[in-house]
């Protein structure tokens, strides 16, 4: 009997891990893994590992781990420096990957082959990518690593004359597409992304309302629902405990300032990436700027970038993808599906394990 093949596209993000499978299932969870702190909490949960939203909800009873930072596995830049912690990060990331695959594909059976494409930040190092290969061993039968903005472009079928901006929690990845695999010169990664907004917002709110009690999680949740950069619009208020009493606090200006803090770097990166492109094709690039990732949902960001582009580059048309959360995973899935079987076999036979066996 022929083996059943399942294809998955995975976006292992700093904030969320997103997966799309060709059996029609897709899912996402916050990239958190929790381990019960003691025997009592282990008894309470009835399991040794808690993932995603559930882990966040019960974080007081758990040792909470976030295996990804700035889009890559923690300590994967210099694994030798923090060997023990790197090992732990790999283990946690591996469990996270196993869990999301289980969510869409169920328990793996012997006659099922799972192939996957995992997205990595645009300028992830070789070490970062190898860490992704490492965690997928034994979970995915075949695996490919692809640049995250490239997978977004692939999913949208915009492989030529397009500039993809993937605004995540840890990084903002910019990638110009011109019909080939983007090289390092075609990509820019900046680190002022969603997490940076949270930090600035937290600082500003703490400065304004010194008496309020708040955490970065509360701030993040509020930001995800209300983020905006435009001048006009309603005032936004957050309910925060002040001396234990829930109090309505106006944070309109603080939220706007925090969201705006990432814009200058993005527009500067756009300017660089357009200005260094072949002048004959620059107009095409300016015409097709695509915003993806959770950060693309900031109200007014599209207009703000267009206005900056008009100032610095003379013109610019920006649009948002329809499904910002799933854009990367969807693209990775399509890439996975398009890859011919012989290419997968070639890759499988190239792995050290296969080489050793042969």
């Amino acid at each position: 009997m022929a083996a059943r093949v399942l294809n998955v596209g995975i976006d292992l993000g700093t904030s969320r891990t997103v997966i799309a499978c060709d059996n029609g299932e897709r899912s996402y969870i916050p990239s958190y893994v929790g381990f019960p702190k003691d025997a009592v909490s282990r008894k309470l949960f009835g399991k040794d590992m808690i993932f995603g939203e559930e882990a966040l909800k019960h974080r007081m009873a758990l040792n909470l781990y976030k295996p990804l930072e700035k889009g890559v596995i923690v300590h994967s830049d210099e694994p030798e420096k923090e060997a023990e912690q790197y090992k732990k990060s790999l283990y946690v990331a591996r469990e996270l990957l196993k869990h999301v695959i289980y969510l869409v594909a169920g328990a793996k059976s012997q006659d099922t082959i799972v192939r996957g494409v995992i997205g990595a930040p645009a300028l992830a190092t070789r070490q970062n990518k190898k860490a992704l290969l490492e965690i997928s061993k034994g979970i995915l039968d075949c695996v490919l690593i692809a640049s995250e903005p490239f997978t977004v472009a692939y999913g949208l079928n915009m492989l030529s004359n397009a500039l993809i901006i993937d605004i995540g929690a840890g990084t903002v990845d910019l990638c110009r597409m011109h019909g080939t695999i983007p090289s390092d010169e075609d990509q820019i990664t900046t680190f002022k992304a969603g997490d940076y907004i949270d930090k600035v917002f937290l600082d500003l709110v703490t400065k304004k309302y010194r008496e309020a009690n708040l955490t970065v999680n509360m701030i993040r949740k509020f930001k995800e629902e209300n983020a905006f950069v435009s001048e006009r619009g309603e005032r936004v208020c957050i309910i925060l405990p002040v001396d234990g009493k829930p109090t309505n606090l106006d944070v309109t200006d603080e939220l706007r300032a925090a969201c705006r803090s990432i814009v200058p770097e993005i527009v500067e990166a756009i300017r660089k990436i357009v200005a260094s492109f072949d002048p004959e094709f620059q107009d095409g690039l300016k015409e097709n700027v695509i915003l993806a990732g959770g950060g693309s949902q900031i109200a007014g960001l599209k207009k703000e970038i267009e206005a900056h582009m008009e100032k610095t580059l003379g013109y610019g048309k920006v649009r948002k993808v329809e499904e910002p959360l799933y854009a990367g995973a969807n693209g990775a899935l399509l890439l996975c599906k398009d890859m011919p079987d012989e290419y997968w076999d070639e890759l499988k036979n190239h792995s050290p394990a296969a080489k050793a066996a042969s």
Binding site: V5, R126, E322, M339, P340, L347
Partner: protein, 138 residues
């Protein structure tokens, strides 16, 4: 004769005085009328201007609304166009997803469809494979 001429002179003088009197009276009346008219007009303006302005407010409002509805026709056109574009893109993506045999949630196992990948895309996929092979080697 002398008496007669004196009489005539007196009549002429009297006539002249009469004329001057009438003329002066006319001028005075004109001046009074003009001044009165000005005062009335000014007062009228003071009284009526706010009233007229007040009466015009609803019409200005109507004009603004009308402009909003009809004058910003382009805005709606743009919105419709962008929605149409989005729908077209979604339809295109759905077609491409179906072509690849990705199934909708809840339906049976993913179907195996014959791949129709053009040479350009094959070359692109080959490049990705090579990059990954060098990653495994490195």
């Amino acid at each position: 004769m002398r008496c007669l001429s004196r009489g005539l002179g007196a009549i002429v003088e009297a006539g002249k005085y009469t004329c001057a009197t009438v003329e002066y009276t006319g001028l005075v009346s004109y001046g009074a009328l003009k001044f009165g008219g000005r005062v009335v007009a000014h007062s009228f303006r003071i009284v009526t201007a706010p009233v007229a302005r007040g009466m015009a407010i609803p019409f200005v409002g109507i004009k603004k609304v009308t402009l909003k509805v009809f004058g910003r026709k382009n805005y709606f056109d743009e919105k419709f166009e962008s929605v149409e574009e989005k729908l077209a893109r979604i339809a295109e993506r759905l077609a491409s997803i179906e072509n690849r045999g990705i199934v909708v949630r809840g339906t049976a196992v993913p179907t195996k469809v014959p791949r129709r990948i053009d040479l350009g895309r094959q070359a692109l996929l080959r490049q990705i494979v090579e990059a990954n092979k060098s990653l495994i080697d490195g």
